[in-house]
Symmetry: C2
Subunit: 743 residues, 2 copies
């Protein structure tokens, strides 16, 4: 797999020669003027459009086919209500910032009013949804329960606070579930379903793992409990069974290594055998086994999901075909005419360019017959999913304005220089020198002035490139690094000027502006990575898993939110942070005398608390990295550790392993999978049509970043895609409807 077109911003020839683009194809469109043909108007044309766009965007809602329901469904899929719902989910989730314990306290009535508004929006959206889908399917949806439960909780809480009783807003843990259950959160729901499916297997390994920990703990109790050893804090060492179980569980996370071993090791070297065996079995063998089980199951179920998805996509395309089909001759195969096809494509993707559409048609209608059969029609959804950028290849504006100058020998020499490989190398060297200058002390006036010099060099680079390359190509949508460069350099210029102006005006230097200047300077260095081919491949793999990382980001947000809500109820106010300048004696023990002289307070962990939602999230991130929670067990009760163990199981054992599995699979695909058949066909067609240099330049983007589930398609057996060709399936094929299975 070649790297996708990210370099951009060069003329065609230089792009081709530099190898920055995977391929570049030039088309000649013989029929550039669009001829209005006869379009057979079907009653259900709208329905066909919906089927095709559902297939295109992998939507799986089973809707009524009455014209009214179809119109409602179209509205349901409109971007505006979808964005609105997301916005209100965001508002609903961010209420945690303003509710007790709050970052910015707001009165209870205000937050509850906002929450009511959010619930109203969700209810309207649900009502809309209920109108679209068949009635009986609607009542199985768990969203309804979430909303009703939230309402009940709000009423109870309102009544309790009104009567000055203590109430717990327990329904707050349900909020992130809305994010999972909203029909738009398909990827997230799929990830949740994969986790649920993998749970039984994980559970058995987990039981064995717990058995191993319990057995080792029993052995530790018997071997070490009676020896009268003391921990570093002077407490008895390994005398309480449950404490041992917990300590050894934490040892699996490596958080208390080697502290937990030291008293035994100091007593006799032979006890290290016990700990080394323990770490080997539980940290290495079992943790790898967890990863292996999660990896295998996740792969297996995701594959099954993708298979279902592909199947239902095909069914939908077959339905659309059934609507649009005509018979050219008596008893002949049903076909779809080019006119209808054009109309359909224009309605499904209004933004599609004419050359792009005609290219797709020529791929579908291989024999140039003017109509296509079912098989060719069905692949339309996949064809539309292949991203083709059409760039107008036009001459540089300077060439049109002042050709004599632009095409003169010195100007052409300059162009050749800028397009030369050495130009990139020189600028990479400049960046490296710049890195050294950034590292040096900026108090030195020579060094702080050098910043102007480097800024000038970077500006010159951008101007030179703009002189050589056509500006619209340089700033095309996919030229990531050009945009990156320009924005960073211009921002740095502005920030540096503002900073100097402030300084010379009153000798005053804003720390914030300086910070921005520094960040921008350092970010500039990242560009070095792009000019080395090997790095670009790795970076591209990492970028390609971006959408998946977003899904995992949502997944982890849901889990963090739930744990943050529960954690705040359990631990709020137990640990307090005092400002550095505070003279309060409670500062030494985080405002809780139970923490006096504890490791928690001595390590200055007071800010790691559950006192508001931001602190909670940061603490949960820390817990994901290292499960360090001794302090919270001290201030509440030993059983508080259950919360932290549970968090470790959910986040580290399950979710992080799924994340690692995903990265593994992404790299595997990157190393081994070739382009899809259809993509190859499209590229071949583009090559075939390459008759002369024309106005439009379509560029095929690697599509695998579009949908991470695609990655698994390559792994699927071809026979799984065998089409169900019998007529029953076409008319009333009730494809499975994964959307309705609860997450």
């Amino acid at each position: 797999v070649q790297p996708p077109a990210q370099g951009g911003g060069s003329t065609l020839s230089s792009l081709l020669s530099s190898g920055r683009l995977s391929r570049y194809f030039i088309l000649n469109f013989q029929s550039c003027s669009f001829s209005f043909e006869y379009i057979c108007v079907f009653q259900d044309f709208d329905l066909a459009v919906i089927y095709v766009s559902d297939a295109l965007y992998n939507r799986n809602i089973y809707f009524d086919t009455s014209p009214q329901a179809v119109r409602l469904y179209q509205l349901y899929n409109h971007w505006l209500p979808r964005v609105l719902v997301y916005f209100f989910i965001l508002v609903d989730l961010s209420l945690a910032l303003f509710e007790e314990p709050a970052v910015v306290p707001l009165p209870t009535w205000a937050t509850m009013l906002v929450e009511l508004l959010c619930l109203l929006v969700f209810t309207i959206r649900l009502g809309h949804y209920a109108k679209v889908i068949p009635r009986d399917k609607f009542w199985k949806d768990p969203k309804n329960i979430c909303i009703i439960l939230t309402l009940i909780d709000m009423i109870i809480y309102g009544a309790l606070t009104a009567t000055d009783c203590y109430g717990v807003r327990w329904s707050r843990v349900l909020r992130p579930l809305l994010l999972v259950n909203v029909t738009e959160g398909r990827q997230l729901r799929r990830a949740f379903r994969s986790i649920r499916n993998a749970l039984p297997e994980i559970f058995y390994v987990f039981l064995l793992f717990m058995f191993s920990i319990l057995t080792f703990s029993l052995m530790a109790l018997k071997l070490l409990g009676k020896r009268g050893l003391k921990t570093i804090d002077g407490f008895p060492y390994f005398t309480n069974y449950l404490e041992i179980v917990f300590d050894l569980y934490v040892l699996v996370t490596t958080a208390n290594s080697p502290d937990i071993m030291m008293p035994a090791y100091n007593s006799h070297v032979i006890f290290t055998v016990f700990f080394i065996l323990y770490i080997f079995i539980n940290t290495y063998i079992f943790m790898s086994a967890f990863l292996a089980v999660v990896f295998n199951n996740y792969k297996k179920y995701l594959k099954e999901e993708v298979r279902q998805l592909v199947k239902s996509k095909r069914h939908k395309m077959v339905r659309a075909f059934a609507i649009l089909q005509e018979r050219r001759e008596e008893g002949g195969e049903p076909v779809v005419t080019q006119a209808n096809w054009n109309q359909l494509v224009r309605l499904v993707q209004p933004g599609i360019s004419n050359p792009h559409r005609e290219l797709l048609w020529s791929v579908s209608d291989d024999k140039n017959q003017g109509f296509i059969g079912k098989l060719a029609f069905v692949q339309l959804a996949d064809l539309l999913n292949i991203e083709v950028i059409t760039l107008k290849s036009r001459p540089h504006p300077l060439q049109s304005l002042c050709p004599a100058f632009y095409l003169s020998a010195p100007s052409r020499l300059l162009c050749r220089l800028v397009e030369h490989r050495a130009f990139v190398i020189v600028y990479d060297l400049i960046i490296l020198v710049n890195a050294v200058f950034i590292g040096l002390d900026e108090e030195n006036p020579m060094i702080s002035n050098s910043e102007w010099f480097f800024l000038a060099l970077y500006l010159l680079e951008i101007l030179l490139k703009l002189y050589v390359f056509e500006p619209r190509i340089f700033f095309s949508k996919h030229s990531f690094w050009n945009w990156f460069d320009t924005i960073i350099v211009i921002s740095a210029l502005i920030a540096t000027i503002v900073n100097s102006a402030l300084k010379s005006a009153g000798g005053y230097t804003s720390r914030q502006i300086l910070d921005i200047v520094f960040i921008l300077r350092v970010l500039r260095l990242i560009r070095v990575v792009d000019s080395i081919q090997r790095f670009r491949i790795i970076i591209n793999t990492l970028i390609r898993i971006g959408p998946a990382i977003l899904t995992f980001g949502q997944l982890i947000l849901v889990v963090y939110y739930i744990f943050a809500m529960v954690g705040m109820e359990l631990f709020k106010g137990k640990v307090r942070f005092y400002d550095e300048n505070s003279s309060n004696p409670a500062k030494a023990y985080c405002g809780n005398s139970l923490l006096n002289e504890s490791v928690f307070a001595k390590s200055n962990y007071c800010k790691n608390n559950f006192n508001d939602v931001v602190s909670s999230f940061i603490l949960l991130v820390e817990l994901t990295v290292v499960n360090q929670c001794s302090g919270f067990a001290t201030v509440t009760h030993a059983s508080a550790r259950i919360f932290f163990v549970l968090f470790h199981i959910v986040v580290v054992i399950i979710i992080l392993n799924i994340f690692v599995s995903f990265v593994l699979e992404a790299f595997y695909v990157e190393y081994s999978v070739d382009k899809g058949d259809l993509q190859t066909a499209l590229e071949k067609k583009i090559e075939e049509l390459e008759l002369a240099v024309a106005q439009y330049v379509p560029v095929i983007m690697n599509t695998s970043c579009k949908d991470y589930a695609r990655m698994f398609e390559a792994d699927l057996d071809p026979e799984d895609f065998a089409e169900n060709e019998d007529p029953e399936a076409q008319t009333n094929g009730n494809f499975s409807n994964p959307t309705f299975s609860s997450a």
Copy 2:
């Protein structure tokens, strides 16, 4: 894949009904009396035997085919010299215990004498090897250099110590390389080669990873260095670039999280964004990327190795065939007769039972012709690799001695009871109750006496089983759990009796014996795992990767040994451990005033030092788990950290990832790969031949535990095994000789 026969120790019927064995096959051997047939005596019969056994044991040494060289080669492969070499390698490695800094100090002349003896043995072995293989191949072997370098070092060191100069025994790091380079360490060498092949890919990801760390460090320096923040120990925070780089590298290993973040977090919450981003990119993304790259490359190269191995195995079998072949008729296909085949198999595997051999023949000679062609002959090596246990199914000795009693109704009822599923469940419950009793305080006389009750119950179980099942089957080679039970229970009985005797004799309780009693008691609990089917599958997967874990054990031993040697040279005596009862004031700072008030000394880490080889190994294990090394940088120089970073890169980033890759692959194979074709053919044959119950019961063991490389065979393309049938390849096919490529 069904679980292999591990339950064992039951009569046939109970085994079949309990599902403890994957399959059980009963054979009727019509020709049990062996008829001496005409054996055509070939001159090169020995050579054929060697080819077949080389193919069987995957040996890849290219040897001379003169009769003398063949005899030398046979001697070279004899178990005695091989065991001797391993023994002397062990002696050579364990010299580190006696050399300065020593656990048990011995005079220099003594250790050097032993080392000379070891070198002598290795040289003899090498001389032998040189006689076997062609002369020119010999001189490429890196072993020779190791021995010569060691000799040179010994002379220099001897001279230096004689003149009272300070000498470094630098050749000690070469010692573990002998383990890699000895011809027997094939698996280990293969692992090393896989690592070496994966290095370029890892290197590029590593460069990017380092670039990321350096960039983040620069940003940290600029953002946090000028704010005058202090660490918890009062040092300036993030002001030195190299310190920042190191601290952030350690943060990747999660060892100093969240301590490294706290000063910034306490200053302003916004800085956590920097750290969270850093941890996300470097700890999660890059560490997963390392695993992915290692996983993919390791798989790829190991597959290639296995392909080579299978190819050369086939070549060797073809050569053996060329020696033994006869022509039945003029112009017919060359064949091998049954008599020659029998002779060959008996010489290759002297321990093979007659029924087993005849079974293999009947699989090879499918049409019962009395001779086999080349294709059938070539698969002999694989057939021999399938482990078939032949058990004599004979009646219980009590039945022969006293049939009236043994076959009486109460006796048969007892047998049925013991064979019943409930018997297992009852004993599992007893074990669980026992676990609770172990956990309780054994000072209570009721509880300490209960031990006798439980021991009696376990003894009863074993006796009952021995009553029901034939003892030789119960204690057969593969009945792991029966052996385990019996040994544990008998040892516990003996230890408990000895303990009681000591106690009642003089009121004296030996701590050591009590420890043994406790360990045995807890180990007994493990048996519960075997009675749950789901657990057994997981355990079997883990057991199946046992041989691979041994290879990794050697790999890690090599790496640890080298790092221990270097570490001892660098850090010996820098940190001292004082006994708990010592009143030396130096105890508070580990005998090094530089450590005064340091975290290292305060955490009581003094025993984590490089003062002898045992301490070094334990410290290296700790460093593998958590890279905590601040103390050693304090006592020597900041650059000492390079040692620890290097250790982390080699052990955690490369070797542990290979280990995880291996577990991943093992679970994948366990979940997805079916039995090999040959194994299926063998099982089918056994079923076909099932005509009556006979004396011998062959049991097919799952063979995948035999050689971990086999796991990958399933993944290989079938066309890779396409045989090279041309006559040139048979006579002078020079198969690649991976043994000679240096590791």
